[in-house]
């Protein structure tokens, strides 16, 4: 019977629609989902437990998902309604996120949050004068690791000396120039700027005279015989085979360097580079990790409470102890334990030459990577350095 079949079919079809719509109210249980990186999962679990203990008047069910800070915006924008309520992300994504309306404006305890954290980290969490996230760490930058067997403390101050020392020792100098985060160093040091135009698009001037000088300095490094490129995987493998004399990297790899080099591990702010015959301090992007609340969360007040908890003084200190992350909280940063840590102190040294990355948009990274790759491979595709720069800037601003 065709009729019966159609009846059954349509009934089944209609019923299946309702399954998705039925609200599952489980007697006032507040369900919150938190995204964090793989390495932080255990620590976040402990923080959530202490949160539940601190607010016993409500029943919380907190679940976790693995989404690293760099991927947060991409995963979040895929399906905001199904994404986490509270998530960690790097501050370069905040403008993209607020543009897309993915972040809840922080309205509870705003003054406390602002006064508790360092000014730079609060700026990084603020868009158009409104706070959109809780500062979580202030250590997201890169500096120089060097092996004292091959590079002396003095030599670590100058790029040319580092390269020469590595050459003598037959070791490599690694800097990931085919990555916009690192290669922007050269442009920023030369005095180029990155910002956001009135139309909300990225504006850069890396193709002006200063930019060309920076590109030439970068070219000189990239073509040096000891220069090597690669990501974190390369660093880990290279440390095992004792390949490096010096490496530009960040605090997240500190443990691997310590393990491989032991006492011989030296850390310093980035070296000076030769720019047009003069020594110029190499700048870096300096960022903070932020904790945001999903604009579509069902429990905004509770999600904010949790986000604030995850980033309060006590938990920023825990982050430092468990994972070696530098706190943005002023009190936490002023404890002796944090101050005496060599990695944290070199970060604060480098932060003096750091450019905030909260006005870098997503469109910056791919063209910058392509440019760096062209330099590394000495393959300009028949173009001059200036033409490469023009093309990069055109794509970034497109």
């Amino acid at each position: 019977m065709k009729k019966l079949f159609t009846i059954l079919l349509s009934l089944f079809f209609c019923c299946s629609l309702f399954v998705g719509c039925t609200p599952k109210d489980q007697k006032d249980v507040i369900q919150l989902k938190v995204w964090g990186s793989q390495d932080d999962q255990y620590m976040l679990g402990e923080m959530a437990d202490s949160f539940k203990a601190a607010y016993p008047d409500k029943t919380y069910k907190i679940t976790f998902g693995v989404v690293g800070e760099p991927d947060c915006y991409a995963r979040l924008s895929e399906d905001p309604a199904a994404a986490a309520d509270v998530f960690m992300f790097a501050d370069d994504q905040i403008i993209n996120m607020t543009n897309a309306g993915l972040l809840y404006e922080i309205t509870r305890n705003v003054d406390n949050v602002k006064s508790a954290n360092s000014a730079g980290s609060v700026t990084a969490a603020t868009v158009d004068g409104k706070l959109y996230a809780y500062p979580c760490t202030a250590d997201n930058t890169y500096f120089l690791y060097y092996n004292k067997n091959y590079v002396s403390d003095m030599q670590a101050q100058k790029m040319d000396d580092i390269l020469a020392a590595c050459q003598t020792a037959e070791k490599k100098f690694l800097m990931d120039l085919s990555n916009g985060w690192y290669n922007a160093s050269f442009f920023l040091s030369a005095g180029c700027t990155i910002g956001i135009g009135e139309n909300g698009k990225q504006v850069v001037d890396f193709n002006n005279e200063k930019g060309l000088k920076a590109a030439k300095a970068m070219e000189a490094v990239a073509q040096h015989s000891t220069f090597m490129t690669g990501d974190d995987t390369t660093i880990k493998t290279g440390l095992n085979s004792n390949t490096f004399g010096a490496v530009v990297s960040g605090s997240w790899n500190a443990e691997y360097f310590k393990e491989a080099w032991g006492d011989k591990m030296g850390v310093a702010k980035l070296p000076t580079i030769t720019l047009d015959g003069q020594q110029v301090q190499l700048k870096s992007f300096g960022g903070t990790k932020l904790c945001g609340v999903n604009a579509l969360t069902k429990y905004p007040a509770d999600a904010m409470k949790l986000a604030e908890w995850l980033t309060n003084e006590q938990n920023q200190l825990k982050r430092f102890i468990d994972r070696g992350m530098g706190p943005s909280n002023i009190n936490a940063a002023n404890t002796d334990e944090v101050k005496s840590n060599p990695i944290i102190s070199v970060i604060s040294e480098q932060f003096k030459y750091a450019v905030p990355q909260n006005n870098v948009l997503g469109s910056f990274w791919t063209p910058a990577e392509a440019f760096g790759n062209a330099l590394e491979q000495k393959d300009y595709g028949g173009k001059t350095l200036q033409q490469l720069l023009d093309e990069m800037v055109r794509q970034i601003m497109a």
Partner: protein, 465 residues
């Protein structure tokens, strides 16, 4: 007159008849049948088909319910895809803004498609209910007994068993294939990208603008499309034919008389199939990395000074990918061709030998035509599969090295991996959707041409032994 059987007989006028059916029924029906136009299942109910009538009625109630609470919320907005994104209301107690979602283009689009499906199914159901009412009327006028509900169920397990069997797969196909497919295709005609991300912003219909942009409108995007398309074709050609011929020769060598340990050799090569493809690819990538096994050894042996950038230089990366793909793909051809080789009648070779044919001649005249005839469809699926071969590219280079000659793409990006990075890194769903449609068109054109050219389809009966 049984209306159901009449429509089945004249299948040419099926659609026309279907439209006419309600009018006919209304003209010829009695009061109960006519009332069925308002209350579904009434006719059946009056003629003592209680459960059937009730089910029809319930379906009608459900549909009205859906119209009020679901369809009316989304379908009217399909033209504009929403106008007001999010409203904020200040909550003094909790000290937060409460975000109230008003319109969400994505949900409007998705649920409108669902609504259209529901309406379509309801129409079919409605006409069926009228037919059922009319048939019940005719039956009782002729003094025949109407089918009870249990008779209907019985027929579903007996002469209508095919409908019972096909119901579940059909629902699955509609829900998980057809609905998403229509949704994705429609996105190509909107401006759904990073500047128009719901829920904060809404997207809108833009007609064919995205197609124009990709094909000729924007110099950057269309030149990237051209380059990526060219490499996709080169890749698909080489990936398919290198694997095919290398696998075939390997199979022929192993199959040759006088080769010892045949089973051992076959097992050896087929072993690579047992290792998951992505494991193989990731391992090989590490082996050829800047600091990988090959480069380290070459440097230790003082053959090279600087690491060879296997995956960082465009042309080298392309060659590497094609070669590495052979490692992954040859065993499959080896396996298939080995089976075919054993089925070629030995008498062909013997008579060729008597005629004094050289081994090469025998290959060209006997082995290759035989193998090609059987494997042509396989070759075709391989070619189309390679156009969309995401794994090999993604795990080896992820589309890189990135180049300034491309718009957010790398030199080894295929259309499919470019599409992936456009969606996952750039949230540029509109362009990605257009590329998806293009890939579909390219694949279907190739499939149709190749399929019609291969002898497998032309002379199907020739090789049926």
């Amino acid at each position: 007159m049984m209306i159901g059987s009449q429509t089945e007989q004249s299948s040419n006028f099926k659609l026309l008849n279907k439209i006419k059916v309600p009018f006919k029924i209304f003209a010829k029906g009695d009061w109960a049948t006519r009332l069925s136009f308002l209350i579904m299942g009434f006719g059946c109910f009056v003629r003592k088909q209680f459960i059937k009538g009730l089910l029809y009625f319930l379906a009608q109630v459900l549909f009205v319910f859906l119209c009020v609470f679901f369809i009316s919320k989304y379908l009217p907005d399909l033209g504009t895809l929403g106008t007001v994104p999010i409203k904020r209301v200040w909550d003094e107690v909790e000290q937060v803004y409460i975000n109230i979602q008003v319109d969400n283009s994505m949900l409007i689009l998705l649920y409108s498609i669902v609504s259209i499906f529901i309406i379509f199914f309801f129409c079919v159901l409605y006409i069926n209910s009228l037919k059922a009412a009319y048939n019940a009327q005719i039956n009782s006028e002729n003094g025949k007994k109407n089918n009870s509900f249990f008779d209907d169920i019985k027929s579903l397990l007996d002469d209508k068993f095919h409908t019972t069997l096909l119901t579940l797969p059909s629902i699955g196909v509609i829900l998980f294939t057809i609905l998403p497919l229509i949704f994705m295709i429609l996105i190509a005609f909107t401006n759904y990208d990073s500047d128009h991300l719901p829920p904060a912003k809404l997207f809108d219909w833009v007609g064919l603008a995205n197609f124009k942009e990709l094909l000729w409108g924007s110099a950057q995007i269309s030149s990237t499309f051209g380059r990526v398309l060219l490499w996709t074709m080169i890749w698909a050609f080489f990936a398919t034919f290198t694997n095919y011929f290398a696998g075939m020769f390997l199979a022929i060598i192993i199959n040759k008389k006088g080769i010892k340990f045949k089973a051992f050799w076959r097992t050896m090569f087929v072993m690579t199939i047992a290792v998951p493809q992505f494991v193989t690819l990731l391992t090989i990538r590490n082996v050829f990395a800047n600091i990988g096994l090959i480069n380290t050894w070459l440097q230790k042996l003082n053959i090279i000074d600087r690491a060879i950038p296997f995956f960082e230089k465009g042309w080298l990366a392309r060659i590497m990918i094609i070669i590495i793909n052979m490692w992954v793909g040859i065993p499959y051809t080896l396996l298939i061709v080995s089976g075919i080789l054993m089925n070629i009648p030995q008498s062909l070779y013997e008579s060729a030998k008597i005629d004094g044919a050289s081994p090469f001649k025998m290959f060209v005249k006997i082995t290759f035509p035989y193998v090609f005839f059987v494997t042509a469809p396989y070759l075709l699926t391989q070619f189309v599969g390679n156009i969309n071969n995401f794994n090999v590219i993604y795990y080896l280079t992820a589309g890189g090295p990135k180049s300034l000659n491309y718009f957010f793409a790398g030199e080894t990006d295929l259309l499919i991996t470019w599409l992936y990075s456009l969606t996952s890194d750039k949230s540029n769903y509109k362009t990605a959707s257009v590329i998806g449609i293009m890939v579909f068109l390219i694949c279907s054109v190739f499939s149709l041409i190749a399929y019609n050219l291969t002898s497998s389809t032309k002379r199907e009966e020739d090789y049926q032994a």
